[in-house]
């Protein structure tokens, strides 16, 4: 993991300590969860990513205690973090539905894409392997609808192939049940399966993963990179976007030598300097680090973006920024895989 260097500090304090960690710790609700914004209703997705981010912070802090201090240690205590973890993990555990999935907000009746992030967060906190396994089981059992035979026949009859170009037999994961595969939920599910050990995977997981990986390559924009999942509409090539491209690349790190992967990384590397959203910048930085591509120091650019709009108070952005500032997180590490 890259060490923090003096140029990664602004005003004497690194952004991680000055902004990200206080925002994350300060945004925890009394019920233990986190909202998408400070004070917002607790929701599964931000709670999962904040737990993952704080875990990275805690582990890097523990490592720093044992070595000479080049920068001021993070200004919070391990017990404070542990209390925060315990409450967050408890909230996450309690929001799981009986079928193993997680809904967006506690109390909603149907599970959705956030199940992947929640499973990953619980696993990373070494909590409730049975719950993690049930989350993965729901993912394997829940299919998007576009590849069903009658849908494919309908699409042929309606000549949908003139409108969008994709192989409907290749399926990944949808945002919500009863809908089609899209790049980001597919990638998140693949990342969860990648990191969580195979003994917690249900039967059929390998087949789902391979199919989803093929689906991602099928949905790649001509020339590399991904958008939400429409590579070609009415003959016009889809324009790749940072977020979907990063998620897809994070999910496909086992295929780093494939030309499509390399082409997409080239696109990301070129687009990097134009990124104007802090969440995208943090994720793109992580992605390029993971693939050992040259990438400029993150902190100055991220600090500048934070000074624009304070990340719009977005908890997810603060979590992704915290992770990216710390280097490659464990849940992405190529050495640790399911």
């Amino acid at each position: 993991m890259p060490e923090r260097s003096p140029e990664n500090t602004l005003g004497g304090q690194p952004l991680l300590e000055r902004v990200c960690v206080p925002v994350l710790l300060g945004a925890q609700n009394a019920d233990g969860g986190w909202g998408y914004r400070n004070g917002g209703q607790s929701a599964v997705e931000p709670t999962s990513w904040v737990l993952l981010a704080l875990k990275e912070v805690e582990e890097s802090t523990s490592r720093e205690v044992e070595k000479p201090r080049t920068v001021q240690l993070l200004n919070f205590s391990t017990p404070q973090l542990l209390n925060s973890f315990n409450a967050g993990v408890r909230w996450l555990r309690e929001s799981q539905l009986s079928n193993g999935s997680w809904p967006s907000f506690a109390g909603q009746p149907r599970g959705c894409w956030v199940t992947a992030a929640a499973s990953l967060a619980l696993y990373t906190h070494r909590d409730s392997p049975d719950r993690v396994a049930r989350g993965l089981h729901w993912l394997v059992e829940t299919w998007p609808v576009e590849g069903r035979l009658w849908r494919r026949i309908g699409a042929k009859l309606l000549r949908r192939d003139r409108v969008v170009r994709m192989d409907l037999s290749l399926r990944g994961w949808s945002w919500t049940p009863g809908t089609a595969s899209w790049v980001e939920p597919t990638s998140c599910a693949l990342i969860a399966f990648h990191h969580i050990p195979q003994e917690l995977h249900p039967r059929g997981a390998v087949r789902r993963r391979r199919l989803a990986e093929r689906m991602l390559y099928d949905r790649m924009c001509p020339g590399g990179g991904w958008n939400s999942g429409n590579p070609l509409v009415y003959g016009a090539a889809g324009v790749p976007r940072i977020g979907p491209t990063v998620w897809a690349l994070l999910a496909l790190q086992d295929y780093r030598d494939r030309p499509e992967t390399r082409g997409s990384l080239d696109w990301l590397e070129q687009a990097y300097s134009q990124i104007q959203g802090p969440g995208s910048l943090a994720l793109a930085h992580l992605c390029l680090l993971l693939y050992n591509r040259p990438v400029p120091a993150l902190e100055p650019s991220l600090a500048a973006l934070n000074s624009n709009n304070q990340f719009l108070g977005d908890t997810l952005v603060a979590a992704w920024a915290a992770m990216a500032l710390g280097g490659i997180p464990r849940w992405l590490s190529p050495e640790i895989r399911g």
């Binding site: 909202g35 907000f105 919500t176 009415y234 016009a236 976007r241 977020g243 969440g279 624009n308 709009n309």
Partner: protein, 309 residues
């Protein structure tokens, strides 16, 4: 709550609607002055009310042809504040792109509004409430909707004048798709596409019918809209107190027949006025500013005879 003050009423019981068409050659003119003059013709009751402006911010758009222009959004904000609104929030939930701040920055909204914290709400990440839909055209009985929208006293839909490769056109009614929160439905809000695009547009607008609409027709988009079409400079602003009447008027300006656009035809039954005789037109007449838009082959049937000639 804005959502319940209006909406469903058969056309014969609804008073005539009012739509203003103004020439606005570019985004550098004093849009606030033009809009102020226009809005004052409508006797809008916004004093002490929280106003929500819902522009169409879809993707990073350095060329300025996809999204509602931020100069117009800033002008509208200034006007409603001048008219005594308690607060004016700009709010949007982009449909495909999670990086809302990236869209806003590329779109230069901060350049026009100043720092966005406290002025902009990302509806994709807002707290939500489950609300029964007031129509069931799509079969969806309840929708999670953002608290900021449900608590707004006056909702203004601010679309760009564009063609749309699934719906024919995207105007003030289709723009309301953006209030549906990504944190419950994803990016895109695919559940609503599967429930039926036309039907979902109706259900969303019957549940939260915009109180007013301001369409950015200064530069629109034709052809393979709403993302990959060509810029269509029209030099127009269209505003009105009935989103159906505003959209119908825009369609006429684009050289299309509103009755042939599925969702507009259906919206004309209960949500507002489609027929021209029920719309009081202010400013320019639609035929004097008609600018026929290129459409995909699938939508050539929407064209009026004027457009063919």
């Amino acid at each position: 709550m804005s959502a319940h003050n209006n909406s469903l009423m058969p056309s014969f019981r609804r008073p005539p609607s009012c739509v203003a068409i103004r020439r606005a050659p570019n985004y550098q003119i004093d849009l606030a002055a033009l809009l102020d003059e226009t809005l004052r013709e409508f006797d809008l009751k916004v004093q002490g009310i929280s106003v929500l402006l819902k522009p169409n911010f879809v993707e990073p758009d350095p060329q300025g042809v996809i999204n509602t222009h931020p100069a117009l959004v800033a002008a509208a904000r200034e006007c409603f504040l001048r008219m005594g609104a308690r607060s004016v929030i700009v709010a949007e939930g982009p449909g495909h792109e999670r990086d809302t701040e990236g869209i806003l920055e590329t779109n230069r909204l901060r350049h026009y509004l100043g720092p966005l914290a406290g002025k902009f709400v990302d509806l994709n990440l807002d707290d939500v409430r489950l609300v029964p839909t007031r129509t069931r055209a799509s079969g969806v009985k309840e929708l999670y909707l953002p608290r900021t929208v449900l608590e707004a006293g006056f909702v203004v839909s601010m679309p760009k004048l564009k063609t749309h490769h699934w719906a024919g056109v995207t105007l003030s009614l289709k723009n309301m798709f953006g209030i549906v929160p990504g944190n419950c439905y994803g990016w895109p809000k695919n559940a609503l596409h599967w429930a039926g695009l036309t039907q979902s547009i109706l259900d969303i607008n019957s549940t939260v019918r915009p109180d007013f609409a301001i369409v950015d027709g200064i530069v629109g988009m034709e052809g393979n809209g709403p993302l990959q079409g060509d810029a269509k400079p029209c030099g127009l602003l269209v505003a009105g107190n009935d989103p159906v009447a505003v959209d119908a008027t825009c369609a006429r300006i684009m050289g299309l027949v509103p009755e042939r656009i599925d969702y507009l035809a259906q919206a004309g039954l209960l949500l507002g006025h489609l027929k021209r005789e029920n719309i009081r037109e202010l400013g320019e007449a639609p035929e004097s500013v008609r600018t026929c838009f290129a459409v995909l082959d699938e939508f050539k049937r929407l064209r009026s005879e004027h457009a063919h000639s």
